[in-house]
């Protein structure tokens, strides 16, 4: 009960503050509010094409102008995967004197050929679409995160419709840890390469020196694709890792 009162007070205070603030807001959809007409966002809209040659401004800002943020965003995903494995994964035998709670034996769900066959047909299409989303992220909505999540979801779909073991056969624990690390390393490796060329971290323009027949602007565009692929690898691996651990209580056996 005390918690309830506390909650009411906290929520009331927050709500009052928010309401107090709303009165000062620019109108919704105002193109000349400070945020919308500010120097930064105007710069992005006007110069993205000249700077990076990427039509999708969001991708350009995400992977280039604010690429450092995105690198740590990938790291956040990576951390989530490692954290869940660290918390949940049952590696060692349970220590003596520790009695885990007994779970109710759940009813076995019957094998359904329709679902299983349909998914076998759908999964390659999903994976192809995921790769398209990544590759076409420069020109249309999409990019490494979205593609990675979709690709990860395709493995999750395999795990749901048949079973976790057959999904793990395709994508074992060692493999997903490796791919997750490799993806994040690809991203930060781009940064390291630019450092080695003497430019600032993640200043992709300098990579035109090692890329065949590109100027600085195209080098940025290509590097963004490389970075997005790194993001995709990490996200794919970690999404599946999280599902595999959550669905099997960290045993990586059984599953849903």
């Amino acid at each position: 009960m005390g918690m309830r009162i506390l909650g009411f007070i906290a929520v009331f205070v927050t709500g009052a503050l928010l309401t107090y603030g709303v009165a000062d807001f620019p109108k919704w959809g105002d193109p000349h509010s400070p945020a919308n007409a500010g120097e930064v966002s105007t710069y992005f809209i006007q110069n993205t094409k000249a700077d990076t040659h990427v039509p999708n401004i969001v991708t350009a800002v995400l992977a280039d102008y604010r690429g450092y943020d995105t690198m740590f965003e990938t790291v956040v995903i990576f951390i989530a995967g490692v954290a869940i494995m660290a918390i949940l994964r049952v590696l060692a035998t349970i220590p003596p004197g520790h009695q885990p709670v007994q779970y109710d034996p759940r009813k076995k769900i019957a094998y359904d050929p329709i679902i299983s066959v349909t998914c076998r047909l759908i999964v390659p299409v999903i994976q192809l679409f995921a790769l398209y989303v990544v590759a076409h992220g420069h020109h249309s909505p999409g990019g490494g995160f979205q593609g990675g999540v979709i690709l990860g979801a395709s493995f999750i779909l395999i795990a749901i419709t048949s079973n976790l073991r057959s999904a793990l056969r395709r994508f074992s624990e060692k493999r997903f840890i490796f791919i997750a690390c490799a993806g994040a390393l690809i991203y930060s490796g781009f940064g390291l390469t630019t450092l080695l060329f003497g430019r600032n971290f993640l200043d992709y323009g300098v990579l035109s020196k090692i890329m065949f027949d590109t100027d600085e602007v195209m080098a940025r565009s290509h590097s963004m694709l490389g970075v997005e692929i790194g993001v995709m690898l990490t996200v794919t691996a970690i999404m599946f890792a999280i599902y595999a651990n959550l669905s099997s209580r960290g045993a990586l056996r059984g599953g849903l």
Binding site: V58, P141, F145, V149, G152, I160, S247
Partner: protein, 81 residues
């Protein structure tokens, strides 16, 4: 950006949020939370934030609902409130 559409989605959003918190069956709550995510994804597409909408469709409505359901299956389906 069509404001009538916007207002309708926003009202549904509040309704689904309240329902997903009120339902005592956690599996239903997770499903309704998926609906909530999908509505909010619609809202963002409507506001012109296509990349955000795409991400939310994949992450919010897809994967995080699956994570919630996986946990609910492995723990308790009933909630006291």
């Amino acid at each position: 950006m069509i404001w009538q559409f916007d207002i309708i989605i926003l009202i549904f959003l509040v309704i689904t949020a309240v329902i997903s918190l009120r339902v005592r069956d956690l599996l239903s709550a997770s499903m309704i939370f998926g609906v909530y995510s999908f509505l909010i994804c619609l809202l963002w597409a409507e506001m012109g934030a296509v990349d955000v909408a795409f991400t939310e469709a994949a992450v919010g409505a897809g994967v995080s609902a699956v994570f919630l359901i996986a946990t609910v299956f492995n723990t308790n389906r009933r909630s006291s409130d």
